[in-house]
């Protein structure tokens, strides 16, 4: 009874087993409710799961899946490189305005820039990549700058008392000292890029991708396939989220010490 109470208390800490049970029960309840309430246009979960199993057996799906995954990973790494460069340089006063401008670019809508990007790029692949980069770099930089701004001033003072020069301080505190948080930012922003990928693939359908599959299915109002693809996209996203989280704990074991319910 006491343990049950912790399930509903603020800051309640429950065991890993209990948490897994809680997740399982809530998923079963949600799916049950969906199955019971579905009808008409919205397909029930049983039908969607059946469709998922059918889709993943086709070669066409895997071609599209790898096209999306490769584009996302390529976009992510280039975006991360640009974002890290802009963020680290933001500590040099000369580059601060550039960083400030990049984070404001979050408010620029991609739709309005498609034509300009089409003119500037030579093929569909480049168009998708540049749209993806333009879409995620500002979010990356925003998150990275917030990590940098959150650094305790005393850490910089510690470096000074240890006789480090400013470049060495930048390396120790901002670059090496925050690598774990860069990975966390990457994990959070992977979701944004994974979400955006389907959108940019819809803009240039020549090379396929999950976005192309989605648009085609939507066009024929094949909602079971749409929901099945969405479920696959969702599960792949969750899988990568888990992998990046686990990678963070493995590469930077000290990050686990800081967790409240480690």
């Amino acid at each position: 009874m006491k343990q049950l109470k912790t399930f509903f208390e603020p800051f309640g800490i429950i065991s890993k087993g209990n948490m897994l049970a809680l997740v399982f029960i809530q998923i079963v309840l949600a799916l049950g409710l969906w199955q019971w309430l579905s009808g008409g246009l919205i397909p029930p979960p049983s039908k969607i799961i059946g469709k998922v199993l059918e889709i993943i057996k086709t070669g066409n799906f895997w071609d599209n899946f790898f096209a999306s995954l490769m584009l996302t990973l390529k976009g992510m790494f280039i975006a991360l490189f640009i974002a890290l460069l802009v963020s680290y340089l933001s500590l040099v006063p000369f580059f601060r305005p550039l960083a400030k401008f990049v984070i404001k670019c979050r408010y620029l809508t991609l739709t309005g820039l498609i034509f300009a990007f089409t003119l500037l790029t030579s093929d569909g692949s480049q168009l998708k990549l540049s749209l993806l980069l333009f879409g995620i770099v500002p979010f990356f930089v925003t998150s990275l700058l917030s990590v940098i701004d959150g650094i305790d001033k005393q850490e910089f003072e510690l470096c000074a008392t240890l006789g480090m020069n400013k470049w060495r301080t930048l390396w120790e505190v901002v670059i090496v000292g925050r690598l774990d948080q860069v990975l966390e930012v990457m994990r959070q922003n992977f979701a944004i890029s994974w979400m955006m990928i389907t959108m940019v693939e819809g803009l240039s359908m020549s090379e396929g991708g999950l976005g192309t599959l989605l648009i085609k299915s939507n066009k024929y109002i094949d909602l079971t396939t749409v929901f099945a693809i969405l479920l696959i996209i969702f599960l792949i996203g969750v899988f990568f989220d888990y992998i990046l989280g686990a990678l963070r704990f493995w590469l930077f074991p000290y990050t686990k010490i800081q967790l409240r319910d480690k």
């Binding site: 005393q154 003072e157 008392t161 240890l162 120790e172 000290y254 010490i257």
Partner: protein, 266 residues
């Protein structure tokens, strides 16, 4: 007790600090001298004692070269040059360490920035030796967040001691510690001060009893009637009074009388 006060190691001259119209510190003057005792490696332990909020941390930062005073200057070294950031070690109240590095690496960083060119073997040996001395051996491969406050404080002090800075400033080193741990900290600070003849610990604290018990010289910081800004109102030569270098000094009635007296002066 035979001792000699020789050359000036640190001099604070007419230090004043204001933010706009608000005067925080004024006319702060004091000197720290090298204390020489025959056949002993005797460093210096100096306390700056004042109540909370009086501007001790501001003075602390000025002494460390982190902040510039509005007036006056702090000079150190044989040539009495103006203090620069990095020349004075700092142990902050919350014992800041590099949380992404193990304790061993934290200490290695300090040695890497030491002006002596140690080989990798030297570094290993030094860390082993000091790890033993400071009761940190079993914690060397842990991360700072895995240590208790007292252990972190020991690492922090050792880290600064290993940089070869002769001056180490400690901000409220007794704050938030229980009596037993305070005794350990006192032992540790005495150990650090006697590692090298030139080692000078400057303790900034509001804990009169513990600060006086460990020091050879203390400066009382307080406000004076009808004057704005804190200044040094009294200098206590604890060697002269016979209170320095005595582990059991807190048990002596005369020492306690002085502590009680000081409570009304800060």
């Amino acid at each position: 007790m035979t001792y000699q006060k020789t050359k000036t190691l640190l001099k604070a001259e007419n230090i004043g600090l204001s933010y706009g119209d608000k005067v925080i510190l004024r006319n702060i003057d004091f000197e720290i001298h090298d204390i020489v005792r025959p056949d002993l490696c005797q460093g210096q332990v100096v306390s700056l004692i004042g109540r909370s909020g009086i501007g001790k941390t501001q003075l602390f930062k000025i002494l460390a070269g982190m902040n510039k005073p509005t007036t006056g200057k702090v000079t150190i070294g044989d040539d009495m040059h103006e203090v620069r950031e990095g020349e004075v070690g700092v142990v902050s109240q919350n014992y800041i360490l590099f949380n992404h590095r193990s304790i061993r690496k934290n200490l290695e960083i300090a040695l890497a920035h030491n002006n002596k060119n140690y080989t990798e073997t030297d570094k290993k040996n030094i860390i082993k030796e000091y790890g033993d001395k400071f009761q940190l051996t079993e914690h060397l491969d842990k991360y700072p967040l895995q240590l208790s406050g007292g252990q972190r404080q020991r690492v922090s002090i050792l880290q600064q001691a290993l940089t070869s800075n002769s001056f180490i400033l400690l901000d409220e080193p007794f704050s938030g510690l229980d009596a037993l741990v305070i005794d350990k900290v006192v032992d540790l600070l005495i150990k650090v001060s006697t590692l090298d003849e030139m080692n000078t610990l400057i303790i900034v604290s509001h804990d009169i009893e513990n600060a006086l018990a460990i020091s050879d010289t203390a400066f009382i910081m307080a406000n004076q009637p009808n004057k704005v800004g804190a200044t040094i109102t009294e200098k206590l030569d604890l060697i002269d009074k016979g209170f320095a270098w005595n582990k059991d000094i807190k048990k002596e009635a005369k020492f306690q009388d002085m502590v009680n007296d000081m409570k009304f002066k800060i």
